[in-house]
Structure formats: C-alpha cells, structure tokens
C-alpha cells in the first residue's frame, strides 16, 4: 500500500492503495466516482476514458503510481453542470441508448475536439474507434461531435 495525493476534477484527493491499482478502480472503489466505467480492463473498449493532463487515456491501463502531479479529469468533472459543449450536444442529439459507454465516448470526443476543433469523418473515426458502443449509437455520436465543431 502507498499513499497518493491525486488532483482529480480540481480537487486534491488522498488515497492509500497498492501502487499497481489502475486509476479506474481508484476512482470507482476508493473515491466514489463511478461515472468512469469498466468495460474490458484491457484498453479495448474505451468505457474507462478519462483525461490525464487534458488528454484522453484509458484509466484501466493507468496505474495510480504513474499519475504523479498530472491532473485527472473524469466525466463528473468535465463541467460543473453538465454543460460542456460535448455534453450539451449529446443531449441535443439524444445520443444515449443504454448510456453505459457514453461517459467514455464523451471524454474521448472532448479530447478530440480540443486537439482538432474541426475534425473530418475520418478524423473522428480514427480518434473514436477505441470507444465501443454496443448499442450502436455511432451515427449520433458523429453528428453530435460535428455539431460542436460547427459552433
């Protein structure tokens, strides 16, 4: 066990966990931040996507010991009231079906739009293909991303 002070969603959070513990489980089991989802545990589905220092990463593959001082943002901290442009677009396009993958989709999309404010279809495909949606909401996700880009 080891103590870590993590910067999560603008707050400092203290945890005492095994250094190998993936950030996914630190969030879910120790910090009660369950918005970040478990889907595969092997970087295949993107359900666990969060931002590490502003960039999308798969939290199931990120040991807590590797975080250091880098700030983490989860879906709960993406905006204060769910009003990040991507979150708003997701609601306008009523993207979700079951909704389980959508936190990861939104975190990936927010990160994509930050580095590429006007992505093409191919850019979106490349960036987002690590995020599986079993319900098949891909068409709406693409529309929602493009609607943010247009604004």
């Amino acid at each position: 066990m080891a103590k870590y002070s993590l910067k999560i969603n603008g707050k400092s959070r203290l945890v005492d966990v095994d250094p190998s513990t993936p950030v996914l489980w630190v969030l879910r089991d120790h910090l009660d931040l369950t918005g970040t989802k478990y889907g595969c545990g092997m970087a295949q589905c993107g359900a666990c996507t969060i931002h590490l220092d502003g960039t999308a990463v798969r939290s199931c593959q990120l040991p807590v010991s590797a975080v250091g001082n880098q700030p983490l943002t989860t879906i709960e901290g993406l905006s204060a009231k769910g009003d990040h442009p991507v979150q708003k677009a997701w609601q306008e396009h009523d993207v979700a079906q079951c909704g389980y993958c959508q936190a990861g989709q939104i975190m990936s999309a927010a990160s994509l739009l930050k580095v590429n404010p006007n992505p093409s279809d191919a850019d979106i495909d490349t960036y987002m293909s690590g995020n599986i949606c079993r319900c098949g909401t891909y068409v709406r996700i693409k529309e929602a991303i493009k609607s943010v880009a247009r604004k």
């Binding site: 918005g35 989802k37 589905c45 769910g82 997701w90 909704g99 319900c135 891909y138």
Partner: protein, 750 residues
C-alpha cells in the same frame, strides 16, 4: 391478420388511494391476487405516502411523478412509457419527473423488458391510468367549483372552467384521491395526441452525460464487499479441488470459498439457465484486490460427465439430460452437417412439395450457417445483494425481476414479500439479462458472507459464461417451373441446441407447395434469447436466399417479395400465417421509395435489400456498400418500419439505427467458438465488435404512418440487416456469402 390480445388488460382494475401527505395515487392493479401487495410501503418511498401504489403521484405543488414499471436497458422505456400516461393525464411534460418503479408485479404489471413488448403491453393500461386520474381531477374540480363535471376541461396540468375558474392539478389532487375510480374511460383518438408522437428527450439524458451512478455496477452501500467468481474454465467441467492459501494472504481479502448454485434436484424456473454450477468465490474489499487474489487460486477441474437439470417449465416438471462432452466448434459443424441429412420434424406442410420439386424445371438449394454469439452487454453482469435471516435486498441489472424472484425465494428460503429487487439502469441487455443466475450467485454469496456484497463479472467471465445465441444452420430449396415461376419452397433448419425455424412466417402462405422442418442437437453450452431469437438467423438466411431466387427468376428482389405478398393476401395458402401481407409490403414499398431503389444516382453503391416480420412489427432495409482500402463497408442505410403508432419518434429512430449497426457488426464479425468446451474468445481483442470506423455514415429511418396500436421496436429492425448486408456484399464482391460472420470469407478472397 392476427391481433394480439393482452389478457391481463381484462383482468386489471383501477384503484385510487389517498396519500396521507396530500396528493393522489392511482394504479392499475394487474392481477386479482395481491401478491406482495404492501411491499412498496415498506421500501424506498417516503413515509407520508401511505397506501402508495401505481403509476401517478401528484404533489400539492403540482409536481407530477410518473412511475416507469419496466426496467430500462437502452430502449428508452423510462421516457416512452411515462409519455403514454402523461398523454391521457393531460400533464405538462415539463412538470413530469420519472422514477423507476419498485418490483411489484401485482401493482405494476408484468415488468419485463424483452420480446419488444414494453410499449405494446402497457399501451392500454398506462393510458387508462392516466385518463382515470384526469377524470378524477375533473370531478374534484367540479365539486369544488359546484359546476357540472362535463364543463371542466384540462390543459397541460391545469383544470379550467368557462367561468374563468382554474386550478393546478396539485391543488385538486388530494380531493381527487377520495373519489371513486371511473371505469371504462374513453381514450383519446390518435389525432388528439399532444405528447405521444412528439419526440421527447431521454429523461435520464443529463444523468447519463454527467456520469451519475445509474447502473448496477455503480450501486454501493457502506461496508459493501466485492465478490468475484471463478467458474469452471469449460462447459462440461466441474470443480475437483482448490487451494486458497495464497489467495487468502493477498491484501484486502476476506474469504475464499466454494459454492454450488443449485443443489442436486433443485427445481429450476424456465429462465434459470445455469452454465456452471460450481463456483470458487473470492470476497474482498475492493475490485482490484479481488482480481489479484483470484489469480493466486490453485484450481483443479475435472470432467463432469452427463448431468441432469430439473426444469419447471410451462409444460410442468421436466428432467433434462445435459451431455458431458467437451465440445469444439469444428466437431459441432461436422455434426450439424450430418444431422442436416437426417429426417427432421415436420413443422408445416402445404400442398405437395415432394411432387413439385420432382417436376421442377430448376431447383435452387443453398445452405446457411451461423455461430454462437455472445451478447456482450457493455456493462458486464453484476449484482448487489444483502441477505440476512429476515430479508434480502438485491439490486442490479435484470430484464425480468418477476421471472427470477421465485427461484431467489427458494434459494434463500425467504418468502417473496421479504425480498426486494431493485432494478438499476442496465448497460445493455439484448436478452442476456433475462437469465439472472448472477443475481442468485450474489445473493448466495451475501448470505454466506453475512455482508452486503457486489458480485462483479469481469469481461472475460461475462463472455465465457454462455447463454449465447445458438448455432444455427438452414438449407433452403426453391423449385421453379419452366416459366420461372416459384412453385415450391422448402426450408430445413437445425441448430445447437434449437432450430431457428418460424414455420408460419413469410414466404409460408405465399407458395402453393411449402415444407418447413426442424431438428435440434443437445449441448452443454448454454443458450439464451438474443435480440430477436431465431429471427436473427432466419432473416439472414431466408432473405439472402430470396435474393438468389429473384436473380434466378430474372426479377427484381423487391418485386418478387411484393408479388409473393400479393399472393399471400389475395389467396393465402394454408392457415396460421403470422404476418399481415399489406403491412409487410408497406415497408418494402416505403424503403424502395426512400432509397431510390433502381433509380439513377446510386451507382457508387452496392445495394442489398431485405425485409422481415417479427415481434409484431415490420422492417425493411436497403444497405449501401462501398470499398475503402479494398474492404467493403456499409456506408449508408435506409430503413422502413411499421410498428403502428410511434410513441417517441426520435428515440424510436435511435433504436432502429442501433439495431442496424448491431446487425452489420454481428453479420460481419460476430462469432464465439469453442475448443474442448472452452470459449475461444474472452474479451474485445479477440471478439470483434463493430466500431466507429466500421459503422455507416448515414442511417435514414422512416416509419409507416398509421394509427394502429403500437408494437415493439427493439428487435424487429435487427434480423433483416443480416440479409441486406449479405445481399449487398454479393453485389460488391460478386459472390454469395453463406456463413456468418462474413468478414473472414471477405478476407480469403485475396
């Protein structure tokens, strides 16, 4: 055409009750018996709401709370079902809050999500509940204002009288609740709908995009432990021995033990599919600790041999022998090919197919195959349980609490009224969560551990547990006469462990000489309903076959179907034809029109068409393929649906789009194979799911506009996608694809 009768409608009655805190409750009581009738009070509703039951709660400050009876798995029932109540209640949708109901079949009806049934089975009772509540509010206003009730009108949650008097529903609610419940309410004509047929956003949309704890996996209580199970590594294996010494030394671990799901001879319910009876359970403080300790288990397994399940099905008690063989896919395919040649059970016969085939000028015969599929719900199976000597609280994702409660009650030796099942939002269902052994496992673990426990399946546990879509095969034969008329049709289908044939579906009824046969091979690999069971294979095979028949006849594939449907309408062959030829033809015409079928301007695409009827609705798709990097992709899809009245149109479109993507993905990539009883795929690196770059860029969805009572939509659009993809692939690749998934055969072409 056959119309469906929901028998529980007739037995249901309306009942209002007063809330001591003010406000009004109204419910449709579904069944005459009052099983677990007062569970609600004891559970999660505030004390001041005495005698609560039903779907509608109105507070004095005019908040309207509508209760969704059915669990949500992405089909958006939490929005569409309350819309139906609000329509007749004449509520202001802006003031409506929706809450998932508790499990109480006596008060809230069947409460199962599956079979594309939610909207269909609740269409009448929920509107009746809304209409009766509205009438009582009108009566309360009439008495208060001393005017005839016929002069009181409503508008969006406000009661009005020509004299200028008005009151919000909330002001009249407690008086209304003291009034007798009106019977035989006249319901609105579709032309008067103001909420139904108007798209409403997902009521949980904001919660979803802000990561609120909605799902079973998010459920937690103080002091909750995490449990994982090591099941046998292969079908046909059981536990011989285990050594937990190392695992118990790992940090955070509370206990390791073995359990049996069912004792020998336990009477399983119809949905108690059990893949593995033996479990080695690791219980600890956190998920990661439990995952790590589990790797330290020393486990020894052995073949189980033939076993017996005691099933309590609709046909009464039945002993089912489960073969002990450690099965492999290659051997299963050989077995299926051999069985396909044996005589099979006749399912339907019209005319004299034998003679017709003998006299045919041309016979076309093709065989289609499909593998097991895993549901792969995005949220792996999990359940919370807290079981004590007095009661059990369980919470998690499940499609049909009422189907699992009797077994849970038997396993825990607790009466049903001491069991509370909470339905969380499900991260997908697709049929998988109708089979709730993971809930039983969680409950048994909690009972043994004497603590609140959350059982979590890893993705690997989830994918290798079974309850798969069965393996299917079917051989189709068509007989043409010298003038290229279709004179006979024969389908012989089989599967492991069930055959796929719906004998009374199209083209039955449209061909003079028709024969349908089925055969089945038992297995120890467990299967379950998978989005449109059987249809999901049938549509693929039959709709590809019809494409080939049309080609041999030299006729357009849509035209062939329309001609057959005309025959089925004008002069139907045989009895019990399940479909309505007009509605079937309707979706074909609509998709032909919207896709510009055979019209110039679509030359860049390889186009395939297919249509199907299942779960009381009709679907047709035109799939347009292109090549990118020398690989075929579905670029564009046109879908036409007839599901009667569309309650929530935008959300209905979403579901059709999802079904299209799901169909393309499974047709091209889906496959679960076995070697010596063990699944060969266990996570998304070796089980391929469709991804962003493989999904169509555009899916246009159109609904036939009619005023028929609504039918389901979760399943019907799914099956014909497979056939449309196969037919488009033929155009693209110049050869036919008979074996799902298609992708490996596309690869082989080079």
């Amino acid at each position: 055409m056959k119309t469906s009768q929901t028998t529980y409608n007739r037995r249901s009655f309306l009942k209002a009750s007063l809330l001591s805190g003010g406000g009004m409750m109204l419910s449709v009581s579904w069944l005459a018996n009052a099983k677990a009738a007062d569970k609600l009070q004891a559970l999660n509703l505030p004390q001041q709401w005495t005698q609560l039951n039903g779907y509608i709660q109105i507070t004095p400050d005019n908040q309207i709370k509508l209760i969704c009876p059915n669990p949500e798995f992405g089909q958006n029932v939490m929005t569409s079902l309350p819309m139906m109540i609000a329509e007749e209640l004449d509520a202001d949708w802006k003031n409506v809050v929706v809450e998932m109901g508790p499990h109480d079949n006596a008060k809230l009806g069947p409460q199962f999500s599956g079979g594309s049934n939610s909207v269909r089975m609740y269409w009448k009772p929920l509107r009746e509940a809304g209409a009766a509540a509205r009438q009582m509010l009108c009566e309360a206003a009439a008495q208060t204002w001393n005017v005839p009730v016929g002069e009181v009108t409503t508008k969006a949650g406000v009661l009005l009288h020509a004299s200028g008097k008005s009151a919000k529903y909330g002001e009249m609610a407690s008086k209304a609740a003291t009034l007798p419940v009106p019977k035989g309410m006249k319901l609105k004509a579709p032309k008067d709908f103001t909420i139904v047929r108007n798209s409403k956003k997902n009521v949980e949309g904001l919660k979803v995009v802000t990561g609120k704890p909605l799902f079973g996996l998010d459920y937690r209580v103080d002091g909750m432990l995490i449990a994982m199970i090591q099941h046998p590594p292969a079908f046909g294996m059981k536990l011989k021995s285990f050594d937990a010494t190392q695992a118990l030394k790992m940090p955070g671990i509370r206990d390791v033990f073995s359990l049996k799901l069912y004792e020998d001879g336990f009477e399983q319910g119809g949905f108690d599919t059990r893949s593995f009876n033996d479990m080695v359970v690791v219980v600890g403080k956190t998920t990661w600790e439990v995952m790590n300790a589990r790797k330290k288990l020393q486990l020894d397994w052995e073949p189980i041999g033939d076993t017996k399940d005691t099933m309590m099905g609709r046909g009464g008690k039945q002993e089912v022998v489960v073969p002990g063989e450690l099965e492999s896919t290659s051997a299963q395919l050989e077995k299926m090919a051999a069985w396909a040649k044996k005589p099979a059970k006749q399912l339907r016969k019209d005319g004299d197919p034998e003679t017709a085939f003998k006299n045919a000028a041309q016979v076309i015969e093709r065989t289609y195959n499909a593998p097991f599929l895993a549901h792969n719900c995005m949220e792996p199976m999990n359940f919370f349980a807290h079981v004590t000597d007095e009661k059990a609280v369980v919470a998690g994702p499940l499609q049909a609490p009422g189907w699992s409660e009797p077994t849970l009650s038997k396993l825990l030796n607790l009466p049903a009224d001491k069991i509370e099942i909470q339905m969380t939002r499900m991260g997908g269902g697709f049929g998988r969560r109708a089979y709730c052994q993971y809930m039983y496992e969680a409950a048994l673990i909690s009972k043994r551990t004497k603590a609140p426990v959350k059982l979590i399946y890893t993705r690997e546990d989830d994918m290798t547990y079974g309850i798969y879509r069965p393996m299917y095969t079917a051989t189709y034969r068509a007989a043409l006469d010298a003038n290229k008329n279709l004179i006979a049709f024969h389908v012989k289908g089989g599967g492991i462990p069930e055959h796929p044939i719906h004998a009374n579906r199209f083209p039955a009824g449209a061909v003079d000489n028709y024969l349908a046969e089925g055969w089945e091979i038992p297995t120890n690999i467990t299967i379950g309903a998978f989005r449109a069971p059987r249809s999901n294979f049938n549509a693929a095979a039959e709709q590809s076959f019809l494409d080939e028949v049309a080609e041999a006849m030299g006729i357009d594939p849509i035209e062939l179907r329309l001609e057959l449907l005309k025959r089925a309408k004008d002069n139907p062959v045989g009895k019990n034809n399940e479909y309505d030829p007009d509605r079937y033809a309707g979706v074909l015409r609509l998709v032909r029109d919207k896709s510009g079928w055979n019209k110039p301007g679509n030359e860049t695409y390889s186009r395939g068409v297919a249509a199907y009827f299942c779960h009381n609705s009709y679907a047709a798709h035109v799939v347009d393929m292109v090549s990118r990097d020398d690989q075929p992709y579905v670029e564009r899809v046109f879908s036409a649906m007839d599901c009667g009245i569309v309650v929530n149109p935008d959300s209905a479109k979403n579901m059709v789009q999802g079904a299209v993507v799901d169909g393309i993905g499974n047709a091209l990539y889906g496959s679960l194979t076995h070697k010596n009883g063990a699944a060969e795929q266990n996570n998304f690196h070796n089980y391929r799911l469709i991804r962003h770059n493989e999904a169509p860029k555009q899916i246009e969805v159109y609904f036939v506009d009619n005023d028929l009572d609504p039918t389901g939509l979760g399943e019907p659009p799914f099956p014909p996608v497979f056939g449309a993809v196969a037919n488009a692939l033929y155009k693209k690749e110049g050869k036919r694809f008979y074996n799902q998934p298609f992708q490996p055969d596309i690869k082989k072409r080079a």
